[in-house]
């Protein structure tokens, strides 16, 4: 197998809050293969945005990368000086921030925002930038006559296309998109995902798609990383993770998710409780307080991420019993907490 474009190893990120600190990402390891879409999925607060931003090293003022490596094409980008990292941004690694469509500058036309990147970052002259801006608009399916428009003249979906064009401006190898379709209606959402998939395949780039929605993962991703409370619960080929999940949390997520193609009379089963407060996470497995399969060991020891099938890794003490747990997990009674 060819070497991945990016290997994240044991990444730790913490936020300073009050007098102490919160370990928002506590040892994340995963690979981003070349030419593929990786879905980083989990509920709000599990650390997706923190991981995504750590890779670009554009992090909050109170955030600190406290450990780990991020090997991008042979270089540990966690260790290089900021100047060198800055040279990689846009050119090699582009980031589409969460709600990017609302963060375009309202006082400039989208053309001047594209030019800013193309000329200042890409060193293009005016004419080259103009040609590239038109090409980018064509790529994302917006008429080039609209380059002169201001962000507010576009619908939400169109602004998200502009944000994608901006990210692709300098031909990056990796695009990280943080919740790119979250605020959009289903039809626009689907059209944006189709566009993203098409561009990814055409350009042969890699995409990290951050989302809280497993159906978005199911629609466009090749691989997926499931995060829970700052750690990776499960990682593997998308199809394997969604159809043969090995982590109880992933099993629970599937039960809680309405499926329009499923039976009409199906009942959704919640996972009772809420994720832990990261300022004082439980010892052992962080999912243990909500896990119907927790054993005594789960409350003591952190389960290591182990590879149990080809490319499919799980952090659960009972992962070897996954086939049995899966059968139990589809039953609603399994998830009922004793009153």
């Amino acid at each position: 197998m060819t070497e991945p474009l990016l290997s994240v190893r044991n990444l730790k990120v913490s936020y300073a809050v009050g007098g102490g600190s919160v370990d928002a990402v506590d040892g994340a390891s995963f690979d981003v293969p070349r030419g593929s879409i990786l879905g980083l999925v989990g509920e709000s607060g599990c650390g997706k945005t923190t991981v995504a931003r750590a890779i670009t090293r554009v992090i909050a003022d109170n955030a600190r990368i406290t450990g780990g490596e991020m090997i991008f094409e042979g270089t540990d980008i966690a260790a290089i000086p900021e100047r060198q990292m800055n040279a990689l941004r846009w050119r090699d690694i582009a980031f589409i921030p969460q709600s990017a469509m609302n963060s375009l500058d309202p006082v400039y036309t989208v053309e001047s925002q594209l030019h800013e990147v193309l000329r200042r970052r890409g060193g293009m002259d005016r004419r080259a930038a103009q040609a590239r801006a038109e090409e980018l608009f064509e790529m994302v399916g917006i008429e080039k006559s609209r380059l002169r428009d201001y962000p507010h003249q576009f619908s939400g979906g169109m602004r998200q296309r502009v944000a994608i064009a901006l990210a692709l401006a300098l031909n990056p190898k990796l695009v990280i998109a943080d919740e790119p379709v979250t605020a959009l209606d289903v039809i626009v959402q689907r059209q944006i995902l189709d566009q993203l998939r098409e561009l990814q395949a055409m350009l042969g780039i890699s995409v990290i798609l951050v989302t809280h929605d497993i159906s978005v993962v199911a629609y466009v991703c090749d691989r997926t990383v499931v995060m829970y409370a700052g750690r990776i619960a499960e990682e593997g080929p998308m199809e394997a993770v969604l159809t043969r999940p090995m982590h109880p949390y992933t099993m629970g997520l599937r039960n809680a998710f309405p499926d329009l193609k499923g039976a009409a009379s199906g009942t959704l089963t919640p996972i009772e409780g809420a994720p832990p407060n990261l300022a004082s996470p439980p010892p052992g497995c962080r999912f243990a307080p909500r896990c119907p399969f927790a054993l005594e060991v789960c409350t003591r020891a952190q389960p290591p991420l182990r590879e149990l099938a080809s490319g499919h890794r799980v952090a659960c003490h009972r992962a070897d019993e996954a086939p049995v747990l899966r059968e139990l997990a589809v039953r609603t009674e399994t998830w009922l907490v004793p009153a």
């Binding site: 509920e43 709000s44 399916g141 619908s155 939400g156 979906g157 169109m158 209606d185 289903v186 039809i187 626009v188 959402q189 689907r190 059209q191 189709d194 809280h212 929605d213 497993i214 159906s215 978005v216 199911a218 629609y219 998308m238 199809e239 969604l242 159809t243 629970g252 997520l253 599937r254 039960n255 809680a256 998710f257 309405p258 499926d259 329009l260 193609k261 009409a264 009379s265 199906g266 009942t267 959704l268 089963t269 919640p270 996972i271 009772e272 809420a274 009153a339």
Partner: protein, 342 residues
């Protein structure tokens, strides 16, 4: 457990609780700029909507943002005045309600908010937040605590007493959404409008709130409108769905029929677009044109025709009426026998 569609509704025995006839909500927009861009200065948020809701029925109002579903909900609760048409609740025109009658209506018809953090004052304890509607309705102080505890039990908050002196930020999103539901139910309404009540919640907790909603509705025999852009959620709680587009009803019928075989071309695209959590799914392009509906500048004739893959000569010239087609109503010229199609 039975799905939403399995609740026994006897169409003959249950008379309509709500009747809406040709309701309009037109906004006049800031004149000169829109006029200069050649746009009409009237936004038709709701434009000639008619339907009836029977007692005990749960109806989903489905559509994309800007289709008028939230406006429709606000009209129903008289949080907005219709600019045309008539809304009748339990035989009485809502438009004409004044003072005492309006106050009674406000108690009988309740809104469940989208964002639980907007719905309750962050500086009020849960007790205070739930006392407020009781106080407004003139319930004596001595009775209040008992009713509050009962309402919290109804939405399955375990050991309600422990929540009374807490503040919203001390609750999880799922707990707070249950409190919001309890607040809407505390005056024992017979009609509730829930506007995207779980859109701010994480998937793992959302299911619990939806289950409580279904359960409470069945136990109290509530009539409910559930507003959402997500057909999968609507299907979970509503036996009937009304699909809106640019202020108009496109399709209205049993949810399962709509999911299985959507008739209106817009509904077809909407159903095809709903993401499913299965790797094995269609990746065919959606049968719909790109672009977003612009409520300031809707197309002539059928408002969907500029994105419709099947539009023909009649579509730009004539507004399709909502017609009965089998179990459903559909507003599309393709389903008019006189055209000789379908």
């Amino acid at each position: 457990m039975a799905g939403a569609g399995m609740r026994p509704i006897d169409p003959i025995a249950s008379e309509p609780l709500v009747s809406i006839r040709d309701v309009q909500l037109h906004y006049r927009m800031g004149g000169i700029f829109s006029a200069m861009r050649g746009r009409s200065s009237v936004v038709k948020a709701v434009d000639g909507v008619s339907f009836e809701i029977r007692r005990g029925e749960s109806v989903g109002l489905l559509g994309e943002s800007g289709c008028g579903k939230t406006s429709m909900g606000r009209l129903l609760l008289k949080l907005e005045e219709a600019t045309g048409g008539e809304i009748v609740f339990a035989g009485e025109p809502v438009t004409a309600l004044k003072r005492a009658a309006l106050k009674r209506y406000r108690a009988r018809a309740q809104l469940i908010f989208q964002n639980p953090f907007d719905a309750v004052n962050p500086r009020f304890s849960i007790r205070a937040a739930l006392s407020e509607p009781l106080e407004n309705a003139g319930i004596p102080a001595a009775e209040r605590e008992g009713r509050i505890v009962k309402a919290l039990e109804l939405v399955r908050l375990p050991q309600p007493q422990q929540f009374l002196d807490r503040y919203p930020h001390q609750l999880s999103g799922g707990q707070l959404q249950r409190v919001v539901m309890a607040r809407a139910l505390i005056l024992e309404p017979d009609f509730v409008v829930a506007d995207e009540p779980v859109s701010m919640l994480d998937v793992s907790v959302r299911a619990g709130v939806l289950n409580v909603f279904r359960d409470v509705r069945d136990r109290l025999g509530l009539t409910a409108i559930y507003i959402s852009h997500d057909l999968a959620l609507v299907r979970y709680v509503c036996e009937r769905t009304i699909v809106m587009y640019l202020g108009k009803v496109m399709e209205d019928g049993p949810t399962e029929d709509i999911v299985r075989e959507p008739l209106h071309p817009y509904t077809q695209a909407l159903v095809a677009a709903v993401p499913v959590p299965q790797p094995d799914q269609s990746h065919d392009p959606l049968p719909i044109g790109r672009g977003a509906p612009d409520p300031r500048n809707p197309p002539s004739g059928c408002v969907f025709r500029d994105r419709c893959p099947y539009a023909f000569e009649r579509c730009p010239v004539e507004v399709p009426r909502l017609r009965q087609v089998g179990t459903r109503k559909v507003a599309c010229h393709l389903f008019d026998d006189t055209t000789g199609k379908q």
